[in-house]
Symmetry: C2
Subunit: 137 residues, 2 copies
């Protein structure tokens, strides 16, 4: 069975990179640097549905991305989470948190409404995410 | 420098297991099966502060625990997250989610007040967590 990205992930995200193993999206909410990494593992709903090899690769990739984006955007804390109560397709949130951001110090989900990027903002952020894109591509 | 558990993690948790590498707590909130795994890595604030070896072990252990508790407590979804915006000491939330639980389908943080276990409930849950305790001890 071939991999098909959940339509809600597709709708909320700006595609940053795609490889044989992953899709990497930028969430279209300019209040945070918020990435979503989706392993192309058909039928994986929970982390433990992945093979150990896939679990290891996902953890190391997520943390590498976390380090890059936290440094690049001068974040105070890196948040990483796989919840998936609404979108069952396994996906990992990678979020740069900054003291005083729209949800600080709480989690970001369900707080206010997304503020979509305007075009120049989006280009600027995507440009700063080049190292992350290279990691996945 | 020796490892010292953050006082808020200590205060909110019931110690389940401790090894050379980890402390595993059960959060004292009977609304969810909610565990917190803390790597004894002094000075680690973010996942990427751990060595790759530690990152791999933490990911595999977290997911193994996730599989056991989700099966044992007949959960619908496993939530895993490292946020740490309030408690900077690196810790991983491992939560069994059930359709219709107190926060479903949203994340559990900041929803209502914790409902502490009474003593028989606590004993029963801890008894069911024996396989997880053995994994860490």
């Amino acid at each position: 069975m071939s991999f098909k990205l959940d339509h809600r992930l597709e709708q909320d995200g700006i595609l940053l990179a795609e490889s044989e193993q992953y899709v990497l999206n930028l969430v279209n909410d300019s209040r945070y640097i918020w990435l979503v990494l989706i392993p192309k593992a058909t039928n994986a709903k929970d982390m433990f549905d992945l093979t150990e090899e896939q679990q290891i690769d996902l953890a190391l990739k997520s943390n590498k991305i976390g380090r890059i984006i936290t440094e690049q955007f001068k974040g105070d804390k890196f948040n990483i989470a796989s919840l998936g109560n609404m979108v069952p397709q396994l996906h990992v949130h990678l979020i740069v948190r900054t003291v005083g951001d729209a949800a600080w110090p709480g989690p970001i989900w369900g707080v206010g409404d997304a503020v979509p990027y305007d075009s120049p903002q989006r280009e600027k952020v995507i440009d700063k995410l080049r190292a992350v894109v290279n990691l996945i591509s």
